[in-house]
Symmetry: C2
């Protein structure tokens, strides 16, 4: 027969931290603390098995439970020297939920069980505080009424408000004991009237009512939704902990507080916390009274010498120090503790791993290795890779005042201030003149790249986390706020309006790409300093990880940044970004407007030396590291102007006829550009383009080999392949260019040729495609778009509704949809390797910088991930964690093991 | 050891028609004819195995081949009483290619081998025709020079032209024997000069040169491309047939001709053919002399009594009749024959199944069943389903004169004439006034539906075979020419220009949707008459097929047409088409412009009774047949006007503010509408829409049950589902509406709920999705777009280049891409059935009417296909063929078994 109830406290050792699945996080930690001799108010936990039984048997309890609870209660009475329902020395208990995985605030809790008309008098006598006793009682009646009997909170609040008014006091804390007594009567009447049944005077009935309600709350709609969103299985169940109450509000020798074993902001090894004398737990949180610092040092630093717990209750403080030391040694992590002092006696109510900033997480993890508390592997698992990004970008000074104008999506972290401009050219002009500017656009396109480079930050009113603006900004490591839909941008007037405020060109704003906030004026920022711990942890990560980490970069600046952050190559160099610079865009447009192949070749010949120069610069920075170059991908109309005004300017600049430009634009217009004439389709329809690019790559590689003595082996990547035949055609064409260059230079360029897998068909046909490819790079941005039939740019209109409805647990453009897109990736890996065992495999979509997606890449055995420069450190750490988590020893470990 | 050479003729029986894989189509049929005693010029065939050996061994022949050829040649000499290279009685042979699958014109042929300076004199003597002898010789030298030695044809033609000029005659046929002799000398000199080697006088060297060249032609670029396009395996190889020459040009007792055993235009059982006295085979084809009719009846009908072969050479004609009868009995199909009469003696040179019109195919197949020649199954396999469409639509009178203005894609068959209009509203107005109009648009959108309905035909300058215009026109059974890109359409001037010709609004044009031609003025058309054979064959098809055939229809007219053509239900009713009619579009726009759910509900309440009426009408027509209704699918902006002018008109008509309309339009604008807020996403973001539609369906079903006593069980289909959760949410919502209607009416509507599988993710996740779906309908149009990443509307820009380059064997929007999209369909079938064994499965993309795709659906075990009304008969026949072809007995059979 199962054991349904586990006791903790006194000499009993029935549970421990390892029984989380059975006792829930809270119950397991209480048992653990009790077991290692920490002062925990005793109690017992009813297991999650009871919860499962409860739901499998129409909300009935397993046979024997009642007896086990009765026995545990009797034991508790003995231990406390009190009696449950005893009018002389009443035992009060709390009943709390506690699931194996934390579901904060989703389920119910009831305190002060055990009070009725008789025991409340006993409590008043024992505590010597009648007010306290009746306040506790009225809280019980309200909580029980709400949680067990389903009476609306509002009704209780109305009664209370009425009484407060009637008594002529300002707030409930000023009510007299007699008034509270009357309030209890009113509450009891309310309960009876609403639930057609009186509040149970029988304390055992109270207890079982509370236990039933807490188990019942496992299936409340909130909890059900939360579980779906967090993929928590329904049959995990919750445990219920029944614990004897202790009170920090029984006089000046009582207190309550919260504490961290280290500073959660900096990670420094100092105690950190606050407390209040003669108060209840919720008073610390509620902010009615200002809590005092825990330590003398903190008190002195705050100019409040003498107010600390260390000074006021030195005995208790020393006891607390022992508790801290014990807990850290025991849990081997920084702990977040709630404690209560009842009449000079310390009780620990809860412990859990403390939340911390990225900086603190890093320092604590590295420090604890040095202290011998944990090993390097565990340290690596303690830091959330995504949080590292905070450390790399400038951030707003948290102390500065902010006037928030609007909110958008936090698309690319970091903060920036500058003058508003609405035009990429103007951004560039002003930046050259030394001004800081923020580029504000409805949305951006590749034509805005130079303006984005020039700007300090980018703000758009349309587009999601993976819109053009967001992706490019992240790539550049530039702050970006996207989809701030309240912004009404008027290009003609060169201003935007938001809730009546008009912001004109030249006005200064600040954007915070980490929070999505847009602020008027300049808000001071602080520059990041990378600590020694950062370098230490990265070195440990590099020693562990198997996946290589490359970067998506095409400018020398991005490439340099990425190398500085530890990138081991370029996984995606988007050559089209090289075509937008002033000197090239004219030739590019000439190419697009050309009537025939001959005309296109003439125009491309002008671009060739510039493109070759681009590659020479990149190869020099990357040295022997691999560089994957994607040939031209976007549809040609992206290189042409959009509106009438611009069109005339472009015609004038390039010497084109406006009519010809218009006609070509109309010809190139597409209903769905994402699914149009782009990628390798361009390479097949206009062979000259890829030929020029291949030539530029080969000539650059040979030049760098000659001048720098580095043998560069570029990886040429053909985008948007759907069929083996496309790749075969283009592979042959590239090979002909290589042959021609070899003949001219007397030295054959070495290179690899491969393809992006970014169409579902390519994944399905990977075996045939791999016969012509030396590498695959998963372009999971497009693969996600096609597989889900969702355009990144348009998704913002419904993705939020979708996440709310539980359709997507996370944004599939941020974290790979493992069930759908992931299956295609898995298939492509298997099939590709079937045709070519040594096929090189990488990922270059946005997902390459997402820790969950990196874990998936590790599981599939890819060779590398590639991500934007600022995500390289994240990827290095995530790749290490992915290796560690494949070891069952570490599977359960995680950086946020809260109860 | 293999047998490399198979002889035919005389008493020898070495090959037969079943050895097509070894002897090629030509060789196998010659062997077969010889074997059944038909007068075939004797010869021998070198097998395809030799070809395979040839390519596996660096173009060397297998040991023993030379001896086998020598023996076969000796046998041939004996049989003919001639000698190869014998100056007295020279044997001449032809060397021809013949692959197991016909590759017409792809490989080479050489005639008259065996001539040199000595034998040509013999031939002159034996034939008594020196001119003939030297003409034959000069043809040999030219053919050998071109084919074996690779000399350009142009050089021979220049020599010939020079000589003709020099001799002072008008054409080569007037050259004297002596001049021809000089021509031979000039050709021989040319060959020696160009190839650095003299033309071989040794006839055995000639023979081996010719054999090598014909095997070599298997790998010429033309043939390689042809095989890739037709998916013919490279290692199939070609056979080479060496056959003794016979001549129809040795005098008035000689002739040559072609004949069909039945009339290939009508299918009537009459001999049909033409011949020329004293002529060579190519003369009949070349058209220099006008051939005479074969039979007396034909001659009399043509007013040329006395000219027929039947009259001129009665003996030969009777022999030919016997040949016809033997061949039809033997091959059990209408035959297309080439024959030659040499000095009163008949030779059959070739036989193959004759090409025929759809009408003839139908009649011949049904007649042959009645004649006991073939069974019903074989009759079903003899008719090409796609060709049936010719019979269903009006066609241009083939005798009428046509002035072709432009050409586009043959998007929807049939022909129509009418006045040019550029606007859907005008089309409707004029049609109501009784005018025939052709709607001419750059491209069409759902807003043009009423104009398309009103027009006789549709012409667009943009868009492919599966553009909106094409799909809708096919659904309506209306002629349509799409993507006529030469048309420059000017909406403002209300005219289009094509190659300088201006066609104005009101001018009459004719379009032929079967050929893609656009003609000025009215070209007379003929209405189709469905023959009794049509009904007979359809009944046989229905008895055989397993797949049900439904139709895609939403208007009563389409539904009625489809039922008349045998549709067994509606597989796709696109409800959005119901929203564009005048009375609804205003309410629809009101709904789109509404600020909140309440406003949307008010507008939808106006649409509800109309939509209910639509369904009542459909249910009445369909009776107990199943009807699948797809809830709203397109993005909402499709219901709003596009341009400024229209926008103002719409605002005025609906009483909307222009600014509000503009703002909403800007909000709804999408970069890639195909991947945007549409399908079930609309249903989730704006729940009111689907609720109204579900209500209209339920209320209509109950109404028809009440009034007509037919229990309608509508199938409600949720479009664009990517995740199980979407379907779960919407299934629950539809169920709530059903419950509400049941409560109101006291009777619960019965219905099925299912989804379209049109996103790759849906196919991958079919198991989870099927838990909420009673049926799947494969929306292979969108599934193809997503899987290949190709927008149907934009594909026209590169699909042709792609087909030319051999990337796609056929347009993947017409015939399902079995390797890519097909794998997803297969997966979805397997996974869906895993979750729900009785899942109903159908297909409703354009592919539902494509025979190859239907065969794939049969192989997967789908329950039904659904196609446009005019394709229903095609689908019925194709479904029957698909069943038959799964039986190995019929696998090899096909309607076009050419040699």
């Amino acid at each position: 027969m199962s054991q349904w109830v586990y006791r903790f406290g006194g000499e009993v050792r029935e549970g421990h931290a390892g029984l989380r699945h059975l006792l829930g996080g809270k119950g397991a930690n209480l048992a653990e603390m009790a077991a290692i001799g920490l002062p925990v108010p005793p109690g017992f936990t009813i297991t999650t098995e009871v919860c499962r039984y409860f739901y499998a048997h129409e909300r009935r309890y397993p046979p024997g439970l009642e007896q086990e609870v009765a026995r545990a209660l009797a034991w508790l009475e003995g231990l406390r020297g009190q009696g449950f329902g005893d009018p002389e020395r009443p035992l009060l208990v709390s009943v709390r939920s506690g699931a194996p995985i934390s579901m904060p605030g989703m389920m119910d809790t009831i305190l002060n069980l055990g009070l009725n008309h008789e025991t409340v008098e006993g409590l008043a006598r024992v505590s010597g505080d009648r007010r306290f006793a009746f306040d506790s009682y009225r809280r019980l009646v309200q909580m029980y009424g709400e949680v067990v009997l389903g009476i609306e909170a509002r009704l209780f609040e109305e009664e209370l408000a009425e009484l407060v008014a009637h008594e002529g006091v300002r707030r409930e804390t000023e009510l007299s004991p007699a008034a509270l007594e009357r309030l209890v009567e009113r509450y009891l009447a309310l309960v009876e009237e609403r639930s057609q049944t009186p509040f149970p005077r029988d304390v055992r009935q109270q207890l079982w009512g509370a236990i039933g309600a807490v188990f019942g709350s496992w299936m409340n709609p909130r909890a059900v939704t939360y579980r779906r969103l967090h993929r928590i299985p329904e049959d995990m169940g919750t445990a219920v902990t029944v614990q004897s109450m202790v009170f920090g509000n029984l006089g000046e020798d009582c207190a309550t507080g919260v504490a961290f074993t280290r500073d959660p902001a900096t990670g420094r090894r100092v105690f950190y916390g606050e407390y209040l004398v003669n108060a209840q737990g919720e008073d610390v949180v509620a902010g009615i009274r200002t809590p005092k610092p825990l330590t003398r040092a903190m008190a002195e630093a705050n100019g409040a010498a003498g107010s600390s717990l260390e000074e006021r209750m030195p005995e208790v403080f020393r006891e607390l120090e022992r508790v801290f030391a014990t807990l850290e040694r025991h849990y081997r992590d920084m702990q977040d503790i709630e404690f209560t002092v009842e009449k000079g006696r310390l009780y620990v109510l809860q412990t859990r791993s403390g939340k911390r900033t990225a900086q603190a997480a890093l320092k604590i993890a590295v420090d604890m290795v040095e202290e011998g508390l944990i090993g390097r592997e565990e340290a690596l698992l303690r830091v959330d890779p995504a949080a590292l990004e905070q450390l790399l970008h400038p951030t707003l000074d948290p102390k500065a005042e902010r006037k928030v104008l609007a909110r958008g999506l936090p698309a690319s972290p970091g903060a920036a201030s500058g003058r508003v401009v609405f035009d990429a050219d103007e951004a560039e002009r002003r930046a050259l003149a030394g001004e800081a500017v923020i580029l504000v656009r409805i949305e951006t396109s590749p034509e805005d790249i130079h303006g984005m480079h020039a700007a300090r930050g980018i703000l758009t009113s349309r587009g999601g986390m993976t819109s053009h603006a967001a992706v490019v900004a992240r790539g550049m490591g530039k702050p970006c706020v996207c989809g701030a839909s309240n912004l009404l941008i008027d290009y003609e007037q060169r201003q935007f309006t938001v809730d009546g405020t008009v912001v004109r060109r030249g006005d200064v704003i600040t954007i915070d790409g980490s929070s999505g906030q847009v602020m008027l004026g300049e808000v001071p920022t602080i520059e990041p300093k990378l600590s020694g711990e950062f370098a230490t942890l990265m070195a440990w990560a590099d020693a562990v990880r198997r996946l290589k980490v490359r970067t998506n970069a095409e400018t020398p600046k991005d490439a340099q940044t990425a190398v500085r952050f530890g990138a081991e190559g370029i996984g995606l160099c988007r050559t089209e970004h090289m075509f937008f610079q002033d000197d090239r865009i004219v030739a590019m447009r000439e190419m697009i407007l050309a009537q025939d192949s001959e005309g296109r070749r003439r125009a491309l010949a002008k671009i060739l030396p510039m493109q070759r120069g681009d590659f020479v610069a990149l190869f020099r920075i990357m040295g022997a590291r691999p560089v994957t170059i994607r040939l031209l991908d976007p549809p040609l109309h992206e290189f042409l102007p959009f509106d009438e005004e611009e069109l005339e300017a472009v015609a004038a600049a390039g010497g084109f006829a406006v009519a010809a430009l218009k006609r070509r634009l109309a010809e190139l217009k597409e209903a769905n550009p994402m699914l149009g004439l782009r990628g390798c389709r361009l390479g097949i329809v206009y062979p000259e383009i890829y030929e020029m690019q291949a030539r530029a790559i080969f000539e650059a590689a040979l030049e760098v080999a000659r001048t720098d003595g580095v043998e560069v082996v570029p990886e040429i990547m053909i985008p948007l392949v759907a069929t083996a035949r496309e790749l075969e055609l283009l592979r042959d064409r590239v090979a002909r260019v290589a042959k021609a260059v070899a003949a001219e230079q007397g030295r054959a360029p070495r290179y690899l040729l491969g393809t992006m897998i970014e169409l579902p068909r390519a994944a399905l046909r990977a075996e045939a495609i791999a016969r012509h490819a030396e590498f695959f790079s998963f372009g999971t941005n497009d693969l996600t778009q096609m597989t889900l039939g969702i355009s990144r740019d348009d998704a913002v209109k419904f993705l939020e509704a979708y996440q709310r409805a539980g359709v997507f647990p996370t944004d599939p453009f941020q974290s790979l949809d493992v069930d759908g897109v992931g299956e295609l990736v898995r298939m492509a890996v298997e099939r590709g390797r079937r045709a070519r065992a040594d096929l090189k495999l990488g990922i270059c979509g946005e997902h390459g910088g997402d820790p969950d997606s990196i874990a998936f890449c590790e599981a599939l055995g890819l060779d590398y991930v590639s991500c934007s420069p600022y995500r390289v450190p994240i990827a290095r750490l995530a790749a290490a964690q992915a290796v560690l988590r494949r070891d069952p020893k570490w599977t359960q470990s995680s950086g946020s093991s809260n109860s």
